[in-house]
Symmetry: C2
Subunit: 430 residues, 2 copies
């Protein structure tokens, strides 16, 4: 295990190995944090490219012709940076059991990026509908956000996991704001919002706010402070006014077409502001990883010193710590009993117990952070089932779920879980 | 990532890496299965040593003096085999983030094994009470079973995870049968069972049956067949008769002391029979791992061949699979659409999708298997809280939980979770 500590018995070696595993995990999280930062840079570039491509296609090639190449170039550079970051975690990921899902998500996202050239050609040729441009870019962005979701789901440190859950929901909310921008541009450019378009807008605003709510629930004090300072929680008054116009001017021709430029500017400002917050949250996440690594290294050092001191003294065989400890049942609580023998400082078994107790607490806190992701998984899955069963779209499926939840005064995620459990019945009837 | 496949694009390389990760995970499970087998051999030896040490101490050194050294020798050999198996997974475990808890459990168990020499000395000197012998060995066995629990909790293949959950509960049930043997020997040797002794016996029988129930719930058809053939589910009639005598002869002197030998023989036969089933379940577990590894390797090979075929043909950029797929949302369902282009066989994106869909299904099935472990964790933790708060013992705490669950017609695990959620209130009042 660790030859330097073999003389102290295998137990000490495994204790140190346990500590080193934690450090490895944290170092991996730090590198994944850098991948996540590259993802959010790439997503931001792609959101802009989507917006401008949409305007270009919607205007029949009249507008934004000159702006597109520069935006494509920025996305390409962000893609290059993302691939470089990925290459740096390659060996981390490939050699470790349990990363299969993340790796298959990466394969999916990379395949989407490889398709992007063809899509850009079609945009240039004006051979895609505006809706297809929005949907296509959105699917690609979603495949990138899936990487952040997996990273959050796999993080083993509760604080880092909470920070990643917060970040994922911030990114998801920002993406919905990006879709809102694109959908709204279409409506204003046409001079009015059809029922289905205003319904889609409503869904995007609603879903966006729920994402920001989860962000606020999982953000730490610093992140929350920045969020409130940057007025992240509330859309600016100008945006709210435009939203109101969109909803009230449901008839075609009812709204001023010139508002599409105003809408684009106002929503873009909001999205850029969200990107600023995202950037700060990412920096905070990495600083947190670095702090945790430093703490874990100090712990390891102090454990080593304790174990050195212990070898210098004869073992205290009188206590029989494991033998008369009934708190070590699987899943039971290991209790940190503190210093059993003040003369010796902490004995080996005290160190092992405090390590076990800490890991136990961590795993309980982790479960809480992951519950938010599990809720999301259940809702997404239930939506998919309802969409297929009732042959309705995503917004309608979500509304259906929400109505059932409201009627039964239950949590959306619980209704989603019941829906999944009943999916066999759905299938028979479908 | 995988230089041989770089020409096919990074997506293909990550797809293959995802597949290889699965294989790595399964190979690790196979080696952990060998550790688990060594644990169950060691536990079995320790259970015998506990029984005979208990008889030796309870008889004031008159009985079993000659048998002990041979049994100690068998335990020592089993311990050596266990340490050898551990050494074989060392490099697997130490280099992988996420193994900290398992490693700290190993440290704890090894420390207990290191204390065993001192305990054996005290048994020889007759300087330990019989109850202390039982409790001490039981704590050590529990620390070893905790390794099996962690292995079950960490397994990523749903079938292997189910098999490990079944095996853990079988081992736990057998250990409770071992404690029943030791406690019963004490009562019969004294000629009667005090209230607390017969309460403890009742708890051991009850808890044992619940463990076997979980085993039966998670065992596969083959394991269940063996379980029923070996009459694992039911205690032999002779054992039931002795249990009845124990409960009805609660007064000291009310039961025939000579029955202690009969009790020891009958319970030992039952424990040996359970060991036989355990052994078969372990063989089945390893065969399952080997089958899964072979399947995953065949899959990898077939993926490689498909990808080779794909590079030989120009890419089908017309389809834009990712770009127009809305099923790739994080936590959403990726749907295996089958052969999009029969000419090409399956395209890369079909392979990626089927891999994603498979991993998604696996992770859902895994959650089900782990739910049984989560229930156990919650019940153990709630018991600990109640024990500390009410200053009662484990059996009483369990009975308290069960009474609340019955009175409210709810699942024991749900009551346990509420208890944990309310533990702050407990603490204030305590």
């Amino acid at each position: 295990m660790d030859d330097g500590y073999r003389n102290r018995g295998a137990a000490a070696a495994y204790l140190l190995a346990s500590k080193r595993c934690e450090i490895l995990g944290l170092e991996h999280l730090l590198r994944m944090g850098q991948v996540v930062t590259a993802v959010s840079e790439l997503v931001h570039a792609m959101q802009r490219e989507r917006g401008i491509s949409n305007l270009y296609v919607a205007s029949g090639g009249e507008r934004c012709r000159d702006r597109l190449p520069a935006l494509v170039q920025i996305t390409r550079e962000a893609e290059g940076a993302f691939r470089d970051r990925l290459a740096q975690v390659d060996s981390d990921l490939a050699g470790v059991p349990g990363n299969s899902r993340l790796l298959s998500r990466i394969a999916y996202a990379l395949h989407g990026l490889e398709e992007l050239c063809t899509v850009r050609e079609r945009v240039r040729e004006l051979s895609l509908q505006p809706e297809a441009v929005i949907d296509g870019y959105s699917a690609l962005v979603q495949s990138l956000l899936a990487l952040v979701f997996e990273a959050a789901d796999a993080a083993a440190d509760p604080d880092v996991s909470r920070a990643l859950v917060a970040l994922f929901h911030l990114m998801q909310g920002k993406e919905l704001a990006g879709q809102e921008r694109a959908v709204g541009v279409g409506g204003f450019a046409r001079g009015g919002f059809s029922n289905s378009l205003s319904e889609r807008l409503r869904h995007l605003i609603d879903h966006q706010e729920r994402c920001f709510q989860v962000f606020a629930d999982f953000a730490d004090q610093t992140q929350l402070g920045e969020w409130w300072n940057a007025r992240g929680a509330e859309a600016p008054a100008e945006l709210e006014r435009l939203r109101r116009i969109a909803f009230s001017g449901a008839m075609k021709g009812a709204v001023d077409r010139a508002l599409s430029d105003v809408w684009f500017r106002v929503t873009s400002e909001r999205i850029d502001a969200l990107r600023q917050i995202e950037d700060r949250v990412e920096h905070g996440l990495m600083a947190l990883c670095r702090r945790r690594i430093a703490e874990a290294r100090r712990d390891l050092e102090s454990h080593r010193n304790h174990l050195d001191a212990l070898t210098a003294t004869p073992p205290d065989t009188g206590a029989l710590a494991v033998f008369f400890d009934r708190g070590a049942a699987p899943g039971g609580e290991a209790v940190d009993t503190g210093c059993a023998s003040p003369q010796l400082g902490r004995s080996l078994i005290d160190l092992v117990r405090s390590q076990s107790a800490r890991l136990q607490t961590m795993s309980e806190e982790l479960e809480q952070a992951r519950a938010a992701l599990a809720d999301r998984k259940a809702i997404e899955k239930a939506k998919g089932l309802i969409m297929r069963h009732r042959r309705i779209n995503e917004d309608q499926a979500y509304r259906f779920l929400r109505e059932v939840a409201m009627a039964q005064s239950r949590k959306l995620a619980d209704v989603a879980r019941d829906t999944i459990a009943m999916s066999d019945i759905f299938r028979e009837r479908g």
